[in-house]
Symmetry: D2
Subunit: 255 residues, 4 copies
């Protein structure tokens, strides 16, 4: 059995940088282009960055926790890394693709692993029309905002906004309003993954809204189109005893 | 194109019986064993009965609404039935299989199209252990009860108990507590369809609990095992413009 | 300053009985009729029993925790009891008065410190009409059940059934449905304390419902009338640093 | 019985202006300083403006509906106005007093009849410390925002943010988070009306937050102190059959 060639990458914290040095010393460093696996050292935030950076590579990313929050990370251990990588289970995630057009007609495209969210920018309540597959489903959602989340992101912002946790392989997306005023306390919907969602901001000058796809923020949007980018495969690698499906399942039994 | 052979069946209301006579007169009647399609006349309650009765036949069931609630029914119309049946879209549902053992050791097996639910029988709060795939997930759920719902049933009792609506093809089940006292306001979980759920009633003499699978009720249960019966296919037939997936999606935008 | 004459009472657990002996030895025992304060040793369950037993006495009840749950209890300490009783703060609670008429016309009256609750007895969904001050507010609540809770009881069953926590001096009651099916996910209401609530069970033979006022259960009810018994004063005594208002407030910040 | 002297005021819509002319013609116009009652013609938005403008006058304000939303308004009718005013019931409301200090040390004071709300201004999640009566109740609320609502405002923004509806005379305030991320899905609290709430924005440069008291918005706040202004009495006048208490009660039974 040939050992996997590893590319290590680490967040900027001293702990992660020290771990990087020790692991590179022990296992060697390979350029991404020749790596069989990327090992990311840090917390969930750095893992998301790494996933964005190496999306195109279609190389599995194996996180080891050197951060404060580690939902997406395996436990840190310097020993037996080759053995762990050999048996690790890979989950394929698809990001959301956002195309946001602002009030001046500029279009920004960005990918989101967790969610695309819209939020009002001023004291003026947002008014948003929701179309799914070209059909108007909500004429006018009066709200603080609205978001679309992937299953992997369903435990994050979506959950805070009272949305449902989704199994990672369920093939669905969560559409979740933030403080829905009209329709009164509308709870949102679970959509098939093929859904193409278009938000149109009504009275967008008086009621400015910003859109965010992971780290990319677009101010003063006019329309935001969102769909799953099923042609982009993000490979995330987990120790079998704590794979992503089990984590999201277990997350629902925490209290 | 050969016309489908139809077996008509109807609920006992005068409206449904009148419709039965008119339709048999117009389209003829066939025994179930020779039918290509079963047309059920009534409301959702009768449709569920029909699905239970003809589960084994694996013949599509096409409901026409002659009842008060018609979520599972197509619109009633006596004309062009052959054309409608020709283009109707068939959704395959799998029921849940319940094996409930009572305090005297008797085992009752039953199938549920919507949900299997447990509820306390007396003023004593129920205490229930929840295992999934042989792993204890909740040691002791103190509650009024708990249920497992299919996607097709997720808009019914599950929704009333504050559970999530599930897309019909999402391949998941909803595990939803009823008035969870401990863990405090636990919200339940969305499970992969392969999950095998076992409820064990704690202190079952002092705290009696009944279990219900659609129309079958078992009093004083000790353990209840639930899993999807993927070997049983229930074929439900809908006009394309109102198929089940669209109905459940639209249900989430009603207010 | 005259020392208060104490009547001690304890639950049947060995710990509570031992504490009873030690405290009676140290502070003496007085009959209830001559006591200035009742000291109850046990947990919340025993405290509720004590409150029911000595309601009419209008003597403050001071609980000391010798049980597993002690939301209503002060910390246990054998020292300085007279000093603690001197500065303790008394909260006046009013119970709910339930008058439940069953299907045979028998009327049962009972008092509830926490809540009066109704729950279906069989697999048949309950159908309940709700009147407030003789006005029909809900024609037909299709549900597992419904409850009315006092502020003191709002953190208990009411909270599990997704009802709101109420400040102890807010002068309101919570009306909370259990698994409301129709009206779809109705959330219940916060009522003024003067409200007189009457539940009428519809189709009560086919759909039997039981009613519970704390430890009293009435099977097969036809109507249940509930109102605050403002003529009954239950005096509960707390150390100032943990009085009931602060506890209920703090309960809302626990997580 | 002396007739009340009326000051009429109207929103700028043609309908309200026409009504103003007709009513002034029929009943005469009086300056506010000599009026026994102010009659406001418009919708809820205009009613709130009128309440703000004439707060100090302590003259009852009687709204008549010429707008799109009329929760605070009586039905429009040109006849028998003196009779209606004679029997109208007056509810006294107290606004919230907000003192918001921004990052540059500037303090803005404003009154809010419905609620004081805070919302993040950028894609950075807000982190907010919550003190009540000088005691830290939440160290760090990670969220979109948070609000404090009066009972009169509890059916508005507070309800959209999943907060409870409060009876108008309950003497309580609602503290409600908007998309609470940590503590996970914290539900907020019902506070006694005497509570003094202070929000401190953590990392306020990186995570800017704005505060809004009805129509007054303060950007980039550092701290926001909120308490009920019990010295300010806003008198709102309603036809007895639809007084405010009944409206808020009925609102809870709408579905």
């Amino acid at each position: 059995m040939t050992q996997k060639r590893i590319h290590f990458t680490a967040s900027e914290t001293p702990e992660a940088q020290t771990a990087l040095k020790r692991l590179v010393h022990q296992y060697g460093q390979n350029p991404v282009s020749q790596a069989d696996v990327i090992v990311a050292l840090g917390g969930d935030g750095f893992m998301l960055e790494t996933m964005h950076r190496y999306m195109a590579a279609e190389v599995p990313i194996y996180g080891m926790n050197k951060g404060t929050v580690g939902f997406l990370m395996n436990n840190y251990d310097e020993d037996n890394l080759h053995d762990r990588l050999e048996v690790a289970e890979v989950t394929t995630l698809h990001p959301l693709k956002m195309a946001a057009k602002d009030m001046h007609g500029r279009v920004t495209e960005a990918l989101a692993i967790n969610e695309v969210s819209l939020l009002r920018e001023s004291r003026q309540t947002a008014k948003i029309e929701i179309k799914i597959d070209d059909k108007t489903k909500v004429d006018e959602l009066t709200c603080d905002g609205v978001l679309v989340a992937t299953p992997a992101g369903s435990t994050a912002y979506n959950f805070s906004a009272h949305g449902p946790i989704l199994p990672v392989n369920a093939g669905v997306l969560a559409l979740t309003p933030i403080s829905a005023f009209r329709p009164r306390r509308w709870r949102g919907a679970i959509l098939p993954r093929e859904a193409r969602i278009v938000f149109t901001i009504l009275e967008s000058k008086k009621r400015p809204v910003s859109a965010v796809a992971d780290a990319v923020e677009v101010r003063d949007v006019a329309t935001v189109a969102i769909e799953e980018a099923r042609n982009i495969n993000i490979l995330v690698s987990f120790d079998p005893e704590h794979n992503l499906e089990k984590r999201i399942l277990d997350e629902q039994f925490m209290h």
